[in-house]
């Protein structure tokens, strides 16, 4: 698979910056809106989706759906309000699943 795309999904203030890099940005005001966009992007040829943590908080189950699939990779990034530790939390959960205990604490 070549020629995949990268998307940035989040609240307007947080994603605006990524427009400068030439990435397609998808501003979303609400969780519902973000959910619809997320599933649409996943169906299209987006291989990496950057999602702000604050929106991700309401989309746990939607994100979990793509967790074990090879694509897309959904990466949580801190929005304007600062890191919420969710990205790290996901990493920890992955290790816990593999090892049986949380060894990163």
């Amino acid at each position: 698979m070549t020629g995949a795309r990268i998307a940035v999904l989040g609240d307007w203030d947080s994603v605006l910056a990524f427009q400068a890099l030439g990435l397609p940005v998808f501003p979303a005001q609400s969780a519902e809106q973000a959910r619809a966009v997320l599933h649409r992007l996943a169906r299209e040829d987006y291989a990496v989706i950057y999602l702000t943590e604050r929106l991700a908080a309401d989309l746990e189950r939607d994100i979990a759906r793509y967790q074990d699939a090879p694509a897309p990779a959904i990466l949580l990034i801190p929005g304007r309000e600062g890191p919420l530790g969710m990205g790290m939390g996901k990493l920890r959960a992955a290790v816990e699943r593999a090892v049986g205990v949380d060894i990163l604490a």
Partner: protein, 231 residues
């Protein structure tokens, strides 16, 4: 543990012994696979964790820069400045095989526009903070791609470990003990059948012997009687 219904025959015994050998070999292999995957996972997790810390920190700085720029320039002017990027990004995804786990590798291809400038806007209407923030974002972007790669790999490896661990446990605690028990059951049945056959043969031999003794005794008596009559 319930004994599965097995017909106690030599054929079945040979089949079960073969199965046990396969299961034991598979168990050992899967255990090795699990251990190796775990080692890889822990390596990757360490890297990814450090990378995430760095990326988060830098992104916060960049957000700060953009906020500052928005304050200085006004929101609409900022939006306008960023509306037409000078570069386009395409992603090449290749798949890397880590012990059966298909981990993605992302390679970026950045197309820069004709104007050649790094910044998508003129300098007149924008503030210096914006330039710095865009520059910093450009700098951190490759790390963000590596982070995406790493986190996906961690997810995929951890799923594979979970699957492998289940298989190892199923073999260790179900398949292997069940097969061993069935093998014991059949060998005991076969030994029992063997003993039964021997006893039966001994009994038959005894009966035949008895019959022939009776028969010969009868013959002897007849012979004696004939002898007496002749005298």
């Amino acid at each position: 543990m319930a004994v599965t219904v097995t017909t106690p025959t030599r054929m079945e015994l040979a089949r079960l012994k073969g199965r046990l050998r396969t299961a034991q070999r598979g168990h050992k292999l899967l255990k090795d696979k699990r251990d190796e995957l775990l080692r890889r996972l822990l390596d990757t997790v360490g890297e990814v964790q450090a990378l995430r810390g760095r990326v988060e920190e830098e992104l916060m700085g960049i957000h700060g820069g953009f906020t500052m720029a928005a304050v200085l320039m006004g929101g609409p002017a900022l939006e306008q400045a960023l509306m037409y990027p000078t570069q386009r990004v395409t992603l090449h995804v290749t798949v890397q095989n880590i012990m059966g786990v298909h981990a993605p590798r992302y390679d970026l291809e950045i197309h820069t526009g004709d104007s050649g400038g790094l910044l998508p806007y003129g300098f007149a209407a924008t503030s210096g903070e914006l330039d710095d923030a865009v520059e910093a974002l450009r700098g951190v972007f490759p790390a963000m791609m590596r982070l995406a790669e790493g986190e996906k790999t961690v997810q995929l490896i951890s799923r594979e470990i979970e699957k492998t661990r289940r298989r190892v446990n199923a073999l260790e605690y179900v398949v292997i003990p069940n097969t061993q028990q069935a093998i014991r059951y059949i060998s005991m049945k076969l030994e029992e059948a063997g003993r039964a056959t021997i006893t039966r043969l001994m009994k038959v031999k005894e009966m035949l012997l008895e019959q022939s003794v009776v028969h010969h005794k009868a013959l002897d008596t007849q012979a004696l009687e004939r002898l007496r009559e002749e005298e």
